[in-house]
Symmetry: C2
Subunit: 395 residues, 2 copies
Amino acid sequence: MSIKLWANSGDSHFVEPPDLFDQNLPKDLAARMPQSVKDPDGEYETVTVDGQSFRRKMPRMDTGGARRSLTADEFLDAKRLEGESLTRGAAGNGWDVQARLADLDGEGIWAELVFPSLGIWSFNIRDPKLAVAGCQTMNDWAMSIQRQSPRIVATASLPLLDVNDTVAEVRRAADLGFKAGFLPVRPPVSRPGWSSDEWDPLWDAFVEVGMVVAFHIGTEPHTPDQRTGVYHTGRGGAVLNYTETTFGGQRAICQMVASGALDTRPDLRVMVSEGGSGWIPFIADRLDEAYRQHSAAVRPRLTRPPGETLYQQVYASFQHDHRSSVIALTAAGYRNTVWGSDYPHFEGTFGHTQKTLHELFDDVPAEESRRIRIGAFQEMFPHVPDPPADGSEPE
Amino acid sequence: MSIKLWANSGDSHFVEPPDLFDQNLPKDLAARMPQSVKDPDGEYETVTVDGQSFRRKMPRMDTGGARRSLTADEFLDAKRLEGESLTRGAAGNGWDVQARLADLDGEGIWAELVFPSLGIWSFNIRDPKLAVAGCQTMNDWAMSIQRQSPRIVATASLPLLDVNDTVAEVRRAADLGFKAGFLPVRPPVSRPGWSSDEWDPLWDAFVEVGMVVAFHIGTEPHTPDQRTGVYHTGRGGAVLNYTETTFGGQRAICQMVASGALDTRPDLRVMVSEGGSGWIPFIADRLDEAYRQHSAAVRPRLTRPPGETLYQQVYASFQHDHRSSVIALTAAGYRNTVWGSDYPHFEGTFGHTQKTLHELFDDVPAEESRRIRIGAFQEMFPHVPDPPADGSEPE
């Protein structure tokens, strides 16, 4: 039996209590915050947000290649029936911190950067006041979780309809103890893209309070007549739609690099979660080629080649990538590749984390292995304590 | 002085004679084929196609980092004034084959996969008969060029409004001597995406005649109210728009892999030009993760993991990528990475090809260097003769 490897996760999720908004907001506001109602057969859910209604197919997983489909709940039940020690409470409910940590200990996951679940939908809110009230509620709750363990690094939700509100909530979040702010890969539909100078006060605020900008893929806001995350239908649709999600994260990062938002703020750090890390060396090359070969059309001029800024200020997490994301460091010199579990989501490694970590790292030199599993994460969040030594258990 | 390195180019372009359609088509058809009229100040061109009109900003280039902008013509004039031996005729006019080959000899480029220039606009044609007539005219002309040198591998333009027309032109092109057929990264706006089973007869035809499917990035057809290739405006726009072009090529390839079009046709080879090669190991990882983690939703099932199919049947070309596209082979085992010059375009290496080749390959083992510069191209096009030995000139 190989020894237990420990890793920090740059990509994990809370699942908020269903009564979070009812308990903490006036009734008229609570009713307009994101809510999910699942169909009786579990195949679709309907999410309502601020008077809009979105339909979404529920994720499913089969058991090791079999054709039979399982819902998320059925999958977890099947695992329990097989005698595996999944802590259903933690996987299903992010607010039971002790159960969550037991899950993490079992998997060999130490600290986590944790994103909201329902909160992702809050980027579709159209009323600035509702956005502020909703984010404050989510952040107060997330902080109550983070305070229970130094292994949990929560991301602050931010109201994006008025940049003054965004800046105010960044400052409030920093005072509460947040070390990272969560942004969708594309701003709300009424707002300009991340390359716009309208966001400069936000980047200044992140630098001022020393928080990390944390993008999560698959978070594009949209109108109710666009299906969530469905870009491709027909043959190969499921594979294509998941693959497609990386492009939104890459685009957000390119906007921050090409616009000069990072070049002019060398202390600003940006993380993109679940989009993989293996694309970074390639996009660095492509940005540099664009900057040099189309130089006459390039505005603004930058003080460093854009690929260099990407390498220095951007961090990116992957789960399984065995061909690309580790060699991004070992062969292409990109030091900020971060591993992520995506716990408790189905793209993630829950149930096979140790197998995945050994496959990824057994042939990688110790320094590089530790950098990806532990060091790059700690560079962003130096307050997080070291994990147990590989092969040992938490005290 | 370092020795001359030779390379085949997986990405080059013809510039068609301005009177091509007038000379070869009835007047009423010729008038509807793509035509470009430049503004007097050279900043914009207006392209008219089949009753539609598109505005496009002309590419510009400055002289080595200076802020002064030059048009393409001014840039070439400046190079000549500096005493450099550019063959203006070849760079400007693809139909002067001897001048073109003199340029290539000077650069150290041996054989080329050559795409049309104006022909790219033909994907916006809406009349199937016009599409057929236009493609036949372009192909007859391109073949008259290819016949002048075994170093020129022309790509056949294909009418895409009726798949029966597409198949017929693939067969006619193969009979003429074409070894590759040119496709845009997205079909015309009235047609389904490349994952649709409506294209299966086309893939069967490519296998039947033994031709390579050749995608070129930046070829998305669009409606006249969408600006060509302009996805981003404002800060960083030029860098973002060039960077963005790779995603269209990646998406087309993913559609062919995830739909099973390649899995069921193991002899079908696909090339994507100018989109880089460094993304292949990463997208292979992501396709495999999607296929495995979302397996319950995946249709069709494939006989091989999609990443394996991508590695085996897809070829991809890059120009300058010093971080990613060479290590795609040397570190990530992707054998089908192909170098490309993009001659005579501005993203390309014209004027600095030897410098680029030495920077890319001086530290790469001989076998891998030769595979990228020469071997992968010859695997697709085995009729192409070997280049001169490195360090020597053509006989």
